[in-house]
Symmetry: C2
Subunit: 321 residues, 2 copies
């Protein structure tokens, strides 16, 4: 939930004068998304989302993100399509920030994901991996194994405020993953943050994927491991193997996992759990005064990590390999 | 900025099954409004606003608010029109809260009000007062002079944390207003909260008024005094008499003020300043932990109150009486 930046009518009019989408009829901040400021924009040409990129997004990455959305749209994947300014630019500036206009995507994100949603996500994830295969740009995953130690250092001293013993537990897990992290797996464009609030459904049909601002070049199976973490645990902390089975089977119907990917899945799932544990922990310990964003609970990912640490092989996630 | 309540797909579908507005296509929290949770709702029938009434709104008042919007819409005033359920009800329940669907109103609220906006508001306020004249329901103004002492008691002990000497200054002002508050002025339905974020414009044309959840039966001129406070001061704290002149003249072209109203205006303006000072002060001193709403600065209204205390007559607001 976030609208960080106030925009005056004059600034908005000057920005939109570069586009062929008519006159502004309405402009409202949207209470979703934590990285950027998002606005619902109604013009003579219809409804759009206007995004202002706040400080957490590196401006140098924006051509990758917007180019990727353009590429995936052309490939037929349902995702926000960047609207080009008259000069062809995907990116502009508004209120002293980079800004873009994308198409409005209908759909509802599932507040309580069910098995059918997990299957939909599995299939869409595989289609995304295929559609991104010939996208020519690359972006390193700053939040993969090499990025975790710096995050941990930022939180280590105060980690035990959140849970006694947490600093040692993270240090041991990090040490394990730095040794065991799989290399040479098939890779390409991954979403890297495909949580339920980034997946829209209309009825039972998946209608689109949004929020590609963590997308990067990394192992496909790591993206699947992130989704297993994000979609297949119940509110009581238990892993739901029926959901895991639905997700992985749907993924494999579009894009078959290699034996190396299957073997690596438990390690990748531990890594994914540690990645979200660490970013949530840093956010939790650094809530600014007057913050309008409530940080997500890092302990949810401590519990998920503990589950993965006991997993012996990918069958425990529902893979029928 | 506020979305307080999470709604599941199932709850939403069950709620909307009572309406003839088709299937839900999209549903997004809006980062505007501090009293209620507001959602942009897209269905086969178009765009709507769905509002969940949170604890600050008294459920017993909702028939007044929704009936008023219906009445004003029928009279041709541009405001959100409640959408009736199939059984004719304006009000339903969603996520254990009262909830209503209203039409989506195009327009932008002026982030930096200019003289033309002040004129537009003056005219619209007078039209609202006329359109509400035959609305049969009444609602007392809980935030008029009798309501200020209880508010002050809730903030008195800690008022000087905000500004040294503030408690004594408020006590003296309150004592003055309780003696001097005008009686017997022309009254009817007033908006009572017509700040810039509640007034939409398309270009220079006022396109609608929103957020009637402080509307009540009170003196018309008090509503004008609230608008003088809300629209006619500059960011540096100075009163802009050109704006005051534009607003009051536009008001009087539709609805002429009586000599008693003109004479009372400085007192009403002091009262309006104290009312917003007190509610902001209480909010400022009672920000809950983890709050996602940033309270508004009470000191802005301390400065406005000081201005009004020095006003000798309504000519200083731009009235040409």
């Amino acid at each position: 939930m976030a609208v960080y930046t106030e925009i005056t009518d004059e600034e908005l009019a000057a920005f939109l004068a570069r586009y062929d989408i008519g006159r502004v009829l309405s402009f409202k901040g949207i209470a979703e998304g934590v990285e950027n400021s998002n606005f619902l924009l109604h013009t003579d040409a219809g409804f759009f989302i206007l995004t202002l990129y706040e400080k957490r997004v590196n401006e140098a990455d924006l051509p990758f993100f917007l180019g990727l959305l353009e590429h995936l749209s052309v490939k037929g994947l349902s995702c926000p399509q960047p609207v080009k300014a008259r000069d062809g630019a995907l990116l502009g500036r508004l209120a002293d920030r980079p800004a873009a206009v994308v198409t409005f995507l209908d759909g509802l994100w599932p507040r309580r994901p069910e098995v059918k949603h997990c299957a939909g996500v599995g299939e869409a994830l595989a289609r995304l991996h295929r559609a991104g295969a010939d996208f020519p740009m690359r972006r390193a995953n700053a939040l993969s194994v090499a990025g975790w130690a710096p995050l941990f250092r930022a939180a280590e001293a105060r980690a035990d405020e959140v849970l006694p013993g947490l600093a040692v537990a993270i240090a041991e897990e990090l040490s394990h993953l730095e040794r065991a992290w799989p290399q040479g797996l098939p890779e390409g464009v991954i979403h890297a943050d495909l949580f339920p609030d980034n997946v829209f459904f209309l009825g039972d049909r998946l209608s689109g994927l949004i929020d590609f601002y963590f997308a990067c070049t990394d192992a496909f199976a790591y993206d699947l491991a992130i989704c297993l973490n994000a979609w297949c645990f119940e509110p009581d902390g238990a892993f739901n193997i029926t959901k895991g089975m639905a997700m992985t089977a749907a993924y494999e119907r579009v894009h078959r996992l290699t034996p190396a990917e299957v073997a690596a899945l438990p390690t990748l799932a531990r890594g994914a759990a540690l990645r979200f544990l660490l970013t949530r922990l840093v956010d939790w310990l650094n809530v600014p005064a007057g913050a309008m964003v409530r940080p997500k609970d890092p302990l949810e990912y401590v519990r998920k990590l503990r589950f993965h640490q006991k997993v012996a092989n990918a069958r425990e996630y529902g893979l029928l390999a």
